[in-house]
Symmetry: C2
Subunit: 313 residues, 2 copies
Amino acid sequence: MSRILRVAGAQMAGIQKSDTRPHTLARLIALLEAAAADRASLVVFPELAFTTFFPRWLLPTTQELDTYFEREMPNPNTQPLFTRARELKIGLNIGYAELTPEGKRFNTSIITNPDGSLLGKYRKIHLPGSVEPRPGARFQQLEKRYFEYGDLGFPTFRAPHFANGVLGMLICNDRRWPEAWRVLALRGAELVVIGYNSAAYDPNGGDSETPASRTEHSQLAARANAYMNATWAITVAKAGDEDGSGLIGGSCIVDPNGHIVAVAKTLGDELITADIDLDACRQGREKMFNFAQHRRPQWYGPITSQIGAEPPK
Amino acid sequence: MSRILRVAGAQMAGIQKSDTRPHTLARLIALLEAAAADRASLVVFPELAFTTFFPRWLLPTTQELDTYFEREMPNPNTQPLFTRARELKIGLNIGYAELTPEGKRFNTSIITNPDGSLLGKYRKIHLPGSVEPRPGARFQQLEKRYFEYGDLGFPTFRAPHFANGVLGMLICNDRRWPEAWRVLALRGAELVVIGYNSAAYDPNGGDSETPASRTEHSQLAARANAYMNATWAITVAKAGDEDGSGLIGGSCIVDPNGHIVAVAKTLGDELITADIDLDACRQGREKMFNFAQHRRPQWYGPITSQIGAEPPK
Protein backbone atom coordinates (compact mmCIF):
# COMPACT_ATOMS: atom_id res chain seq x y z
CA MET A 1 0.00 0.00 0.00
CA SER A 2 1.06 3.54 -0.51
CA ARG A 3 -0.54 6.92 -0.06
CA ILE A 4 1.70 9.35 -1.89
CA LEU A 5 1.43 13.07 -1.22
CA ARG A 6 3.63 15.58 -2.98
CA VAL A 7 4.64 18.28 -0.53
CA ALA A 8 6.77 21.42 -0.54
CA GLY A 9 8.47 23.53 2.07
CA ALA A 10 8.80 27.22 1.18
CA GLN A 11 11.75 28.58 3.11
CA MET A 12 11.85 32.37 3.13
CA ALA A 13 14.72 34.80 3.45
CA GLY A 14 14.31 37.42 6.17
CA ILE A 15 11.66 40.13 6.02
CA GLN A 16 12.97 43.58 6.84
CA LYS A 17 11.05 46.17 8.83
CA SER A 18 11.09 48.43 5.79
CA ASP A 19 9.59 45.76 3.52
CA THR A 20 6.02 46.55 2.52
CA ARG A 21 3.20 44.04 2.96
CA PRO A 22 2.61 43.79 -0.81
CA HIS A 23 6.34 43.09 -1.34
CA THR A 24 6.27 40.20 1.14
CA LEU A 25 3.00 38.89 -0.26
CA ALA A 26 4.50 38.83 -3.75
CA ARG A 27 7.35 36.67 -2.43
CA LEU A 28 4.88 34.27 -0.77
CA ILE A 29 2.86 34.00 -3.97
CA ALA A 30 6.00 33.35 -6.03
CA LEU A 31 6.91 30.46 -3.73
CA LEU A 32 3.33 29.18 -3.85
CA GLU A 33 3.37 29.23 -7.65
CA ALA A 34 6.70 27.43 -7.74
CA ALA A 35 5.28 24.73 -5.46
CA ALA A 36 2.20 24.36 -7.64
CA ALA A 37 4.36 24.24 -10.78
CA ASP A 38 6.27 21.41 -9.10
CA ARG A 39 2.90 19.63 -8.61
CA ALA A 40 2.86 19.85 -4.80
CA SER A 41 -0.53 19.41 -3.11
CA LEU A 42 0.57 21.15 0.07
CA VAL A 43 3.13 23.87 0.68
CA VAL A 44 4.43 24.74 4.15
CA PHE A 45 5.47 28.33 4.93
CA PRO A 46 7.34 29.59 8.03
CA GLU A 47 6.06 30.83 11.36
CA LEU A 48 5.00 34.51 11.29
CA ALA A 49 5.44 34.45 7.52
CA PHE A 50 3.84 37.83 6.72
CA THR A 51 6.18 40.00 8.81
CA THR A 52 9.58 40.23 10.40
CA PHE A 53 10.07 38.32 13.66
CA PHE A 54 8.96 41.28 15.78
CA PRO A 55 9.29 39.59 19.22
CA ARG A 56 13.00 40.34 19.07
CA TRP A 57 12.19 43.98 19.84
CA LEU A 58 10.65 45.78 22.80
CA LEU A 59 8.01 47.70 20.89
CA PRO A 60 7.16 51.10 22.36
CA THR A 61 3.43 51.17 21.58
CA THR A 62 0.47 48.85 21.15
CA GLN A 63 -0.18 50.72 17.93
CA GLU A 64 3.14 49.52 16.53
CA LEU A 65 2.58 46.00 17.89
CA ASP A 66 -0.79 45.87 16.14
CA THR A 67 0.81 46.37 12.74
CA TYR A 68 2.24 42.85 13.00
CA PHE A 69 -1.07 41.19 13.87
CA GLU A 70 -3.95 39.92 11.73
CA ARG A 71 -7.51 40.53 12.98
CA GLU A 72 -8.86 37.93 10.62
CA MET A 73 -7.41 35.43 8.18
CA PRO A 74 -7.62 35.92 5.28
CA ASN A 75 -7.88 39.71 5.30
CA PRO A 76 -7.27 42.30 2.58
CA ASN A 77 -3.49 42.14 3.20
CA THR A 78 -3.31 38.37 2.76
CA GLN A 79 -6.28 37.47 0.54
CA PRO A 80 -4.30 37.34 -2.73
CA LEU A 81 -2.21 34.42 -1.41
CA PHE A 82 -5.31 32.38 -0.55
CA THR A 83 -7.06 33.33 -3.79
CA ARG A 84 -4.05 32.19 -5.82
CA ALA A 85 -3.80 28.94 -3.83
CA ARG A 86 -7.42 28.15 -4.60
CA GLU A 87 -6.87 28.91 -8.29
CA LEU A 88 -3.85 26.60 -8.32
CA LYS A 89 -5.65 23.94 -6.23
CA ILE A 90 -2.87 23.76 -3.67
CA GLY A 91 -3.21 23.60 0.10
CA LEU A 92 -0.99 25.64 2.37
CA ASN A 93 0.22 25.87 5.94
CA ILE A 94 1.23 29.31 7.14
CA GLY A 95 1.98 31.05 10.41
CA TYR A 96 0.81 34.49 11.50
CA ALA A 97 0.27 36.68 14.54
CA GLU A 98 -3.42 36.46 15.45
CA LEU A 99 -5.39 39.17 17.27
CA THR A 100 -8.82 37.85 18.23
CA PRO A 101 -12.03 39.89 18.47
CA GLU A 102 -11.65 39.51 22.26
CA GLY A 103 -8.22 41.13 22.08
CA LYS A 104 -6.21 37.96 22.67
CA ARG A 105 -2.92 37.53 20.83
CA PHE A 106 -1.61 34.17 19.63
CA ASN A 107 1.23 32.83 17.51
CA THR A 108 -0.95 30.88 15.10
CA SER A 109 -0.74 28.44 12.20
CA ILE A 110 -3.42 27.23 9.81
CA ILE A 111 -3.73 24.62 7.08
CA THR A 112 -6.02 25.20 4.11
CA ASN A 113 -7.26 22.59 1.67
CA PRO A 114 -6.71 22.84 -2.11
CA ASP A 115 -10.29 24.09 -2.46
CA GLY A 116 -9.53 26.98 -0.10
CA SER A 117 -11.45 25.64 2.88
CA LEU A 118 -9.85 25.59 6.32
CA LEU A 119 -8.55 22.18 7.44
CA GLY A 120 -7.31 23.23 10.86
CA LYS A 121 -5.81 25.79 13.17
CA TYR A 122 -3.19 25.65 15.92
CA ARG A 123 -1.93 28.21 18.43
CA LYS A 124 1.66 27.88 19.66
CA ILE A 125 1.91 26.36 23.11
CA HIS A 126 5.66 26.39 23.85
CA LEU A 127 6.33 30.12 23.82
CA PRO A 128 10.06 30.68 24.37
CA GLY A 129 11.78 33.73 25.76
CA SER A 130 10.69 36.10 28.49
CA VAL A 131 8.05 38.70 29.35
CA GLU A 132 10.57 41.36 30.31
CA PRO A 133 13.67 42.15 28.27
CA ARG A 134 16.78 40.48 29.66
CA PRO A 135 19.10 43.25 30.89
CA GLY A 136 22.26 43.58 28.84
CA ALA A 137 21.31 40.93 26.30
CA ARG A 138 22.29 41.72 22.72
CA PHE A 139 19.19 39.99 21.34
CA GLN A 140 15.78 39.66 22.99
CA GLN A 141 13.09 37.00 22.65
CA LEU A 142 9.79 38.45 23.90
CA GLU A 143 7.22 35.93 22.72
CA LYS A 144 6.01 35.50 26.29
CA ARG A 145 5.30 39.25 26.31
CA TYR A 146 3.41 39.52 23.05
CA PHE A 147 1.50 36.23 22.90
CA GLU A 148 -0.75 34.22 25.16
CA TYR A 149 -0.09 30.49 25.42
CA GLY A 150 -2.01 28.54 22.79
CA ASP A 151 -5.43 27.41 24.00
CA LEU A 152 -6.32 24.79 21.38
CA GLY A 153 -4.10 21.95 22.60
CA PHE A 154 -2.37 19.80 19.97
CA PRO A 155 -5.17 18.87 17.56
CA THR A 156 -4.84 16.57 14.57
CA PHE A 157 -6.93 16.68 11.42
CA ARG A 158 -8.03 13.91 9.05
CA ALA A 159 -7.35 15.33 5.60
CA PRO A 160 -9.34 13.82 2.72
CA HIS A 161 -7.62 16.25 0.34
CA PHE A 162 -4.15 15.16 1.41
CA ALA A 163 -4.07 11.40 0.74
CA ASN A 164 -6.54 10.99 3.60
CA GLY A 165 -3.65 11.54 5.98
CA VAL A 166 -3.72 12.78 9.57
CA LEU A 167 -2.00 16.15 9.91
CA GLY A 168 -0.80 18.11 12.92
CA MET A 169 0.95 21.44 13.35
CA LEU A 170 3.74 22.64 15.61
CA ILE A 171 5.34 26.07 15.63
CA CYS A 172 9.07 26.70 16.06
CA ASN A 173 10.09 26.01 19.68
CA ASP A 174 7.35 23.35 19.99
CA ARG A 175 9.55 21.06 17.90
CA ARG A 176 12.09 20.77 20.74
CA TRP A 177 9.45 19.48 23.20
CA PRO A 178 8.88 15.74 22.82
CA GLU A 179 5.53 15.98 24.61
CA ALA A 180 4.14 18.01 21.71
CA TRP A 181 5.10 15.40 19.13
CA ARG A 182 3.86 12.57 21.31
CA VAL A 183 0.42 14.07 21.78
CA LEU A 184 0.13 14.54 18.01
CA ALA A 185 1.27 10.94 17.42
CA LEU A 186 -1.19 9.65 20.03
CA ARG A 187 -3.81 11.44 17.94
CA GLY A 188 -2.61 9.65 14.85
CA ALA A 189 -0.47 12.30 13.13
CA GLU A 190 1.23 10.98 10.00
CA LEU A 191 2.59 14.38 8.97
CA VAL A 192 3.65 17.21 11.27
CA VAL A 193 4.14 20.59 9.61
CA ILE A 194 6.33 23.14 11.39
CA GLY A 195 7.29 26.70 10.60
CA TYR A 196 10.04 28.45 12.54
CA ASN A 197 12.03 31.62 13.11
CA SER A 198 15.05 30.46 15.12
CA ALA A 199 17.71 32.90 16.19
CA ALA A 200 21.19 32.21 14.84
CA TYR A 201 22.62 33.78 17.99
CA ASP A 202 21.90 33.88 21.71
CA PRO A 203 18.13 33.87 22.60
CA ASN A 204 17.34 30.71 24.55
CA GLY A 205 20.58 29.03 23.61
CA GLY A 206 23.84 29.91 25.27
CA ASP A 207 26.82 31.80 23.99
CA SER A 208 28.53 28.51 23.16
CA GLU A 209 26.08 27.77 20.37
CA THR A 210 26.85 28.69 16.78
CA PRO A 211 24.47 29.04 13.83
CA ALA A 212 25.74 25.64 12.64
CA SER A 213 25.03 23.92 15.97
CA ARG A 214 21.59 25.54 16.14
CA THR A 215 20.77 24.29 12.65
CA GLU A 216 22.00 20.84 13.66
CA HIS A 217 19.80 20.96 16.78
CA SER A 218 16.77 21.94 14.72
CA GLN A 219 17.28 18.98 12.41
CA LEU A 220 18.20 16.64 15.29
CA ALA A 221 14.91 17.40 17.06
CA ALA A 222 12.90 16.95 13.87
CA ARG A 223 14.67 13.73 12.91
CA ALA A 224 14.49 12.04 16.31
CA ASN A 225 10.91 13.02 17.02
CA ALA A 226 9.81 11.95 13.54
CA TYR A 227 11.54 8.60 14.14
CA MET A 228 10.24 8.04 17.68
CA ASN A 229 6.70 8.92 16.58
CA ALA A 230 6.87 7.20 13.18
CA THR A 231 5.66 10.34 11.42
CA TRP A 232 6.68 12.52 8.51
CA ALA A 233 7.77 16.07 9.32
CA ILE A 234 8.22 19.22 7.26
CA THR A 235 10.15 21.98 9.03
CA VAL A 236 10.41 25.35 7.30
CA ALA A 237 12.48 28.35 8.31
CA LYS A 238 12.39 32.04 7.88
CA ALA A 239 16.14 32.34 7.47
CA GLY A 240 19.00 34.76 7.10
CA ASP A 241 19.16 38.40 8.11
CA GLU A 242 16.30 40.49 9.51
CA ASP A 243 17.55 44.00 10.21
CA GLY A 244 20.82 42.76 11.68
CA SER A 245 19.47 39.73 13.56
CA GLY A 246 20.30 36.33 12.08
CA LEU A 247 17.94 33.39 11.67
CA ILE A 248 19.04 29.83 10.92
CA GLY A 249 17.87 27.97 7.81
CA GLY A 250 18.05 24.21 7.46
CA SER A 251 14.44 23.63 6.37
CA CYS A 252 13.91 19.95 5.71
CA ILE A 253 11.51 17.12 5.00
CA VAL A 254 12.05 14.13 7.31
CA ASP A 255 10.74 10.60 6.87
CA PRO A 256 9.37 8.32 9.63
CA ASN A 257 12.82 6.73 9.96
CA GLY A 258 14.29 10.11 10.87
CA HIS A 259 16.07 10.51 7.57
CA ILE A 260 16.14 13.84 5.77
CA VAL A 261 14.78 13.43 2.25
CA ALA A 262 14.98 17.10 1.20
CA VAL A 263 16.88 20.00 2.73
CA ALA A 264 17.34 23.69 1.94
CA LYS A 265 20.82 24.67 0.81
CA THR A 266 20.56 28.44 1.21
CA LEU A 267 19.34 31.05 3.69
CA GLY A 268 17.04 32.54 1.07
CA ASP A 269 13.66 32.01 -0.54
CA GLU A 270 13.99 28.35 -1.51
CA LEU A 271 11.57 25.57 -2.27
CA ILE A 272 12.15 21.98 -1.17
CA THR A 273 9.85 19.21 -2.38
CA ALA A 274 9.34 15.49 -1.96
CA ASP A 275 6.87 12.73 -2.70
CA ILE A 276 6.03 11.35 0.71
CA ASP A 277 4.27 8.04 1.31
CA LEU A 278 2.07 8.35 4.37
CA ASP A 279 1.95 4.55 4.58
CA ALA A 280 5.67 4.62 5.36
CA CYS A 281 4.55 5.44 8.93
CA ARG A 282 3.09 1.97 9.24
CA GLN A 283 6.34 0.05 9.75
CA GLY A 284 7.15 2.02 12.92
CA ARG A 285 3.57 2.07 14.15
CA GLU A 286 3.05 -1.64 13.79
CA LYS A 287 6.41 -2.75 15.17
CA MET A 288 9.01 -0.80 17.17
CA PHE A 289 6.68 2.08 18.07
CA ASN A 290 3.41 0.24 18.38
CA PHE A 291 2.10 2.40 21.19
CA ALA A 292 -0.72 0.09 22.27
CA GLN A 293 1.69 -2.80 22.70
CA HIS A 294 4.65 -1.04 24.25
CA ARG A 295 3.80 2.18 26.09
CA ARG A 296 3.55 2.08 29.92
CA PRO A 297 1.72 5.28 30.93
CA GLN A 298 1.41 4.21 34.58
CA TRP A 299 5.10 5.24 34.89
CA TYR A 300 4.82 8.53 32.96
CA GLY A 301 2.97 10.39 35.71
CA PRO A 302 5.46 13.21 36.34
CA ILE A 303 5.08 14.36 32.71
CA THR A 304 1.58 15.60 33.47
CA SER A 305 1.68 15.95 37.27
CA GLN A 306 4.64 18.32 37.56
CA ILE A 307 5.96 21.25 35.57
CA GLY A 308 9.53 21.90 36.67
CA ALA A 309 12.28 19.44 37.62
CA GLU A 310 12.31 18.05 41.14
CA PRO A 311 15.75 16.52 41.72
CA PRO A 312 16.42 14.24 44.70
CA LYS A 313 17.95 15.99 47.73
CA MET B 1 31.55 26.04 38.04
CA SER B 2 32.33 22.56 36.97
CA ARG B 3 31.73 19.09 38.37
CA ILE B 4 33.98 16.78 36.38
CA LEU B 5 33.40 13.05 36.43
CA ARG B 6 35.58 10.66 34.48
CA VAL B 7 33.41 7.93 33.00
CA ALA B 8 33.86 4.88 30.81
CA GLY B 9 31.65 2.74 28.64
CA ALA B 10 32.70 -0.89 28.33
CA GLN B 11 31.30 -2.22 25.09
CA MET B 12 31.42 -6.00 24.85
CA ALA B 13 31.66 -8.34 21.92
CA GLY B 14 29.01 -11.04 21.80
CA ILE B 15 28.81 -13.83 24.35
CA GLN B 16 28.33 -17.26 22.84
CA LYS B 17 26.14 -19.96 24.32
CA SER B 18 29.23 -22.13 24.73
CA ASP B 19 31.15 -19.45 26.64
CA THR B 20 31.58 -20.35 30.32
CA ARG B 21 30.59 -17.93 33.07
CA PRO B 22 34.22 -17.62 34.27
CA HIS B 23 35.32 -16.76 30.73
CA THR B 24 32.77 -13.95 30.45
CA LEU B 25 33.58 -12.71 33.95
CA ALA B 26 37.28 -12.51 33.03
CA ARG B 27 36.34 -10.28 30.07
CA LEU B 28 34.22 -8.04 32.30
CA ILE B 29 37.06 -7.74 34.82
CA ALA B 30 39.59 -6.93 32.09
CA LEU B 31 37.36 -4.07 30.91
CA LEU B 32 36.85 -2.91 34.49
CA GLU B 33 40.61 -2.87 35.09
CA ALA B 34 41.17 -0.94 31.86
CA ALA B 35 38.60 1.66 32.98
CA ALA B 36 40.25 1.96 36.39
CA ALA B 37 43.68 2.26 34.77
CA ASP B 38 42.23 5.10 32.69
CA ARG B 39 41.14 6.75 35.99
CA ALA B 40 37.39 6.41 35.41
CA SER B 41 35.16 6.70 38.48
CA LEU B 42 32.26 4.91 36.83
CA VAL B 43 32.16 2.26 34.11
CA VAL B 44 28.97 1.34 32.24
CA PHE B 45 28.50 -2.24 30.98
CA PRO B 46 25.78 -3.52 28.59
CA GLU B 47 22.32 -4.89 29.28
CA LEU B 48 22.35 -8.61 30.24
CA ALA B 49 26.13 -8.43 30.42
CA PHE B 50 26.80 -11.82 32.01
CA THR B 51 25.18 -13.97 29.32
CA THR B 52 24.17 -14.13 25.70
CA PHE B 53 20.96 -12.30 24.73
CA PHE B 54 18.80 -15.35 25.41
CA PRO B 55 15.38 -13.75 24.56
CA ARG B 56 16.18 -14.39 20.91
CA TRP B 57 15.39 -18.04 21.48
CA LEU B 58 12.30 -19.97 22.46
CA LEU B 59 13.83 -21.93 25.32
CA PRO B 60 12.31 -25.39 25.82
CA THR B 61 12.50 -25.57 29.62
CA THR B 62 12.37 -23.33 32.68
CA GLN B 63 15.49 -25.13 33.79
CA GLU B 64 17.39 -23.79 30.79
CA LEU B 65 15.86 -20.34 31.21
CA ASP B 66 17.01 -20.27 34.82
CA THR B 67 20.65 -20.64 33.78
CA TYR B 68 20.51 -17.09 32.44
CA PHE B 69 19.04 -15.55 35.60
CA GLU B 70 20.66 -14.33 38.83
CA ARG B 71 18.86 -15.09 42.12
CA GLU B 72 20.88 -12.45 43.92
CA MET B 73 23.44 -9.86 42.95
CA PRO B 74 26.29 -10.28 43.63
CA ASN B 75 26.37 -14.07 43.74
CA PRO B 76 29.24 -16.56 43.51
CA ASN B 77 29.23 -16.30 39.69
CA THR B 78 29.56 -12.50 39.69
CA GLN B 79 31.23 -11.64 43.02
CA PRO B 80 34.79 -11.37 41.60
CA LEU B 81 33.73 -8.40 39.42
CA PHE B 82 32.31 -6.49 42.38
CA THR B 83 35.26 -7.41 44.62
CA ARG B 84 37.71 -6.11 42.02
CA ALA B 85 35.67 -2.91 41.54
CA ARG B 86 35.82 -2.21 45.27
CA GLU B 87 39.57 -2.85 45.31
CA LEU B 88 40.02 -0.43 42.41
CA LYS B 89 37.57 2.09 43.90
CA ILE B 90 35.48 2.28 40.75
CA GLY B 91 31.71 2.33 40.46
CA LEU B 92 29.89 0.30 37.85
CA ASN B 93 26.56 0.01 36.09
CA ILE B 94 25.67 -3.42 34.77
CA GLY B 95 22.63 -5.22 33.45
CA TYR B 96 21.48 -8.73 34.33
CA ALA B 97 18.45 -11.01 34.30
CA GLU B 98 16.95 -10.94 37.80
CA LEU B 99 14.92 -13.77 39.38
CA THR B 100 13.39 -12.59 42.64
CA PRO B 101 12.70 -14.76 45.69
CA GLU B 102 9.01 -14.47 44.73
CA GLY B 103 9.79 -15.97 41.33
CA LYS B 104 9.44 -12.74 39.33
CA ARG B 105 11.77 -12.16 36.40
CA PHE B 106 13.05 -8.72 35.41
CA ASN B 107 15.55 -7.21 32.98
CA THR B 108 17.51 -5.29 35.60
CA SER B 109 20.32 -2.75 35.93
CA ILE B 110 22.22 -1.57 39.01
CA ILE B 111 24.77 1.11 39.82
CA THR B 112 27.34 0.51 42.54
CA ASN B 113 29.47 3.15 44.25
CA PRO B 114 33.29 3.02 44.31
CA ASP B 115 33.10 1.66 47.87
CA GLY B 116 31.00 -1.26 46.65
CA SER B 117 27.69 -0.07 48.09
CA LEU B 118 24.57 -0.03 45.95
CA LEU B 119 23.56 3.36 44.59
CA GLY B 120 20.41 2.27 42.78
CA LYS B 121 18.47 -0.32 40.85
CA TYR B 122 16.17 -0.16 37.82
CA ARG B 123 13.98 -2.74 36.09
CA LYS B 124 13.33 -2.32 32.35
CA ILE B 125 9.92 -0.88 31.60
CA HIS B 126 9.79 -0.80 27.79
CA LEU B 127 10.05 -4.51 27.00
CA PRO B 128 10.12 -4.98 23.22
CA GLY B 129 9.15 -8.01 21.22
CA SER B 130 6.36 -10.48 21.80
CA VAL B 131 5.16 -13.19 24.18
CA GLU B 132 4.72 -15.79 21.47
CA PRO B 133 7.25 -16.42 18.70
CA ARG B 134 6.36 -14.69 15.45
CA PRO B 135 5.60 -17.41 12.89
CA GLY B 136 8.14 -17.58 10.13
CA ALA B 137 10.41 -14.88 11.53
CA ARG B 138 14.12 -15.54 11.15
CA PHE B 139 14.92 -13.88 14.47
CA GLN B 140 12.72 -13.70 17.55
CA GLN B 141 12.54 -11.14 20.35
CA LEU B 142 10.81 -12.72 23.33
CA GLU B 143 11.48 -10.26 26.15
CA LYS B 144 7.74 -9.98 26.78
CA ARG B 145 7.73 -13.75 27.36
CA TYR B 146 10.66 -13.98 29.74
CA PHE B 147 10.39 -10.76 31.75
CA GLU B 148 7.74 -8.89 33.67
CA TYR B 149 7.46 -5.16 33.08
CA GLY B 150 9.69 -3.20 35.45
CA ASP B 151 7.91 -2.21 38.66
CA LEU B 152 10.26 0.45 40.04
CA GLY B 153 9.32 3.33 37.75
CA PHE B 154 12.10 5.60 36.52
CA PRO B 155 13.99 6.52 39.71
CA THR B 156 16.94 8.92 39.93
CA PHE B 157 19.69 8.81 42.51
CA ARG B 158 21.76 11.59 44.06
CA ALA B 159 25.33 10.30 43.90
CA PRO B 160 27.81 11.84 46.38
CA HIS B 161 30.53 9.52 45.00
CA PHE B 162 29.96 10.70 41.43
CA ALA B 163 30.52 14.47 41.58
CA ASN B 164 27.28 14.72 43.56
CA GLY B 165 25.43 14.19 40.30
CA VAL B 166 21.92 12.86 39.76
CA LEU B 167 21.97 9.55 37.90
CA GLY B 168 19.27 7.55 36.20
CA MET B 169 19.23 4.28 34.27
CA LEU B 170 17.48 3.09 31.14
CA ILE B 171 17.84 -0.28 29.43
CA CYS B 172 18.04 -0.79 25.66
CA ASN B 173 14.60 -0.18 24.09
CA ASP B 174 13.77 2.38 26.82
CA ARG B 175 16.12 4.81 25.08
CA ARG B 176 13.71 5.10 22.13
CA TRP B 177 10.83 6.22 24.35
CA PRO B 178 10.96 9.97 25.07
CA GLU B 179 8.67 9.55 28.08
CA ALA B 180 11.38 7.56 29.88
CA TRP B 181 13.99 10.28 29.41
CA ARG B 182 11.55 13.01 30.37
CA VAL B 183 10.57 11.39 33.65
CA LEU B 184 14.26 11.00 34.52
CA ALA B 185 14.90 14.65 33.62
CA LEU B 186 11.89 15.80 35.64
CA ARG B 187 13.58 13.98 38.52
CA GLY B 188 16.78 15.89 37.90
CA ALA B 189 18.90 13.37 35.98
CA GLU B 190 22.23 14.82 34.85
CA LEU B 191 23.58 11.50 33.59
CA VAL B 192 21.57 8.65 32.08
CA VAL B 193 23.40 5.32 31.76
CA ILE B 194 22.09 2.80 29.25
CA GLY B 195 23.14 -0.70 28.32
CA TYR B 196 21.74 -2.41 25.25
CA ASN B 197 21.59 -5.53 23.07
CA SER B 198 20.06 -4.31 19.81
CA ALA B 199 19.53 -6.68 16.94
CA ALA B 200 21.39 -5.84 13.76
CA TYR B 201 18.55 -7.44 11.79
CA ASP B 202 14.77 -7.68 11.88
CA PRO B 203 13.30 -7.82 15.46
CA ASN B 204 11.10 -4.76 16.00
CA GLY B 205 12.54 -2.92 13.04
CA GLY B 206 11.49 -3.73 9.54
CA ASP B 207 13.30 -5.48 6.75
CA SER B 208 14.26 -2.13 5.28
CA GLU B 209 16.60 -1.39 8.18
CA THR B 210 20.28 -2.18 7.96
CA PRO B 211 22.81 -2.54 10.78
CA ALA B 212 24.08 0.92 9.82
CA SER B 213 20.63 2.53 10.03
CA ARG B 214 19.96 0.79 13.34
CA THR B 215 23.23 2.11 14.76
CA GLU B 216 22.31 5.57 13.49
CA HIS B 217 18.88 5.28 15.15
CA SER B 218 20.46 4.26 18.44
CA GLN B 219 22.71 7.30 18.40
CA LEU B 220 19.94 9.59 17.09
CA ALA B 221 17.69 8.67 20.02
CA ALA B 222 20.50 9.14 22.54
CA ARG B 223 21.63 12.45 21.05
CA ALA B 224 18.19 14.03 20.71
CA ASN B 225 16.94 12.91 24.11
CA ALA B 226 20.16 14.04 25.80
CA TYR B 227 19.72 17.43 24.09
CA MET B 228 16.00 17.85 24.81
CA ASN B 229 16.54 16.88 28.45
CA ALA B 230 19.87 18.70 28.89
CA THR B 231 21.52 15.57 30.28
CA TRP B 232 24.65 13.50 29.68
CA ALA B 233 24.13 9.98 28.37
CA ILE B 234 26.35 6.90 28.16
CA THR B 235 25.00 4.15 25.90
CA VAL B 236 26.86 0.85 25.82
CA ALA B 237 26.30 -2.12 23.52
CA LYS B 238 26.83 -5.78 23.57
CA ALA B 239 27.85 -5.95 19.93
CA GLY B 240 28.77 -8.27 17.11
CA ASP B 241 27.92 -11.92 16.68
CA GLU B 242 26.14 -14.13 19.19
CA ASP B 243 25.77 -17.62 17.74
CA GLY B 244 24.81 -16.31 14.32
CA SER B 245 22.64 -13.39 15.44
CA GLY B 246 24.11 -9.93 14.96
CA LEU B 247 24.05 -7.05 17.44
CA ILE B 248 24.82 -3.43 16.59
CA GLY B 249 27.65 -1.53 18.29
CA GLY B 250 27.90 2.25 18.28
CA SER B 251 28.38 2.72 22.05
CA CYS B 252 28.81 6.41 22.78
CA ILE B 253 29.03 9.16 25.36
CA VAL B 254 26.74 12.11 24.54
CA ASP B 255 26.85 15.61 26.01
CA PRO B 256 23.82 17.77 26.97
CA ASN B 257 24.00 19.45 23.56
CA GLY B 258 23.46 16.10 21.86
CA HIS B 259 27.02 15.88 20.63
CA ILE B 260 28.91 12.58 20.74
CA VAL B 261 32.15 13.05 22.69
CA ALA B 262 33.34 9.43 22.54
CA VAL B 263 32.24 6.55 20.34
CA ALA B 264 33.21 2.89 19.90
CA LYS B 265 34.92 2.07 16.62
CA THR B 266 34.62 -1.73 16.69
CA LEU B 267 32.05 -4.44 17.43
CA GLY B 268 34.34 -5.93 20.07
CA ASP B 269 35.33 -5.49 23.70
CA GLU B 270 36.23 -1.79 23.63
CA LEU B 271 36.50 0.93 26.23
CA ILE B 272 35.38 4.51 25.57
CA THR B 273 36.12 7.22 28.14
CA ALA B 274 35.48 10.91 28.68
CA ASP B 275 35.73 13.61 31.32
CA ILE B 276 32.19 14.87 31.61
CA ASP B 277 31.20 18.10 33.37
CA LEU B 278 27.83 17.64 35.02
CA ASP B 279 27.47 21.41 35.22
CA ALA B 280 27.32 21.44 31.42
CA CYS B 281 23.64 20.50 31.92
CA ARG B 282 22.98 23.91 33.40
CA GLN B 283 22.92 25.92 30.19
CA GLY B 284 20.02 23.89 28.81
CA ARG B 285 18.20 23.69 32.13
CA GLU B 286 18.36 27.40 32.80
CA LYS B 287 17.50 28.57 29.27
CA MET B 288 16.01 26.65 26.35
CA PHE B 289 14.85 23.67 28.41
CA ASN B 290 13.94 25.40 31.65
CA PHE B 291 11.02 23.11 32.40
CA ALA B 292 9.44 25.28 35.09
CA GLN B 293 9.30 28.25 32.71
CA HIS B 294 8.31 26.56 29.50
CA ARG B 295 6.47 23.26 29.95
CA ARG B 296 2.64 23.24 29.58
CA PRO B 297 1.45 19.95 31.13
CA GLN B 298 -2.23 20.92 30.87
CA TRP B 299 -1.91 19.99 27.17
CA TYR B 300 0.06 16.76 27.65
CA GLY B 301 -2.88 14.75 28.98
CA PRO B 302 -3.01 12.00 26.33
CA ILE B 303 0.55 10.94 27.26
CA THR B 304 -0.72 9.56 30.55
CA SER B 305 -4.44 9.11 29.84
CA GLN B 306 -4.18 6.84 26.81
CA ILE B 307 -1.88 4.01 25.72
CA GLY B 308 -2.37 3.47 22.01
CA ALA B 309 -2.94 5.96 19.23
CA GLU B 310 -6.47 7.25 18.64
CA PRO B 311 -6.55 8.88 15.20
CA PRO B 312 -9.45 11.09 14.14
CA LYS B 313 -12.11 9.31 12.08
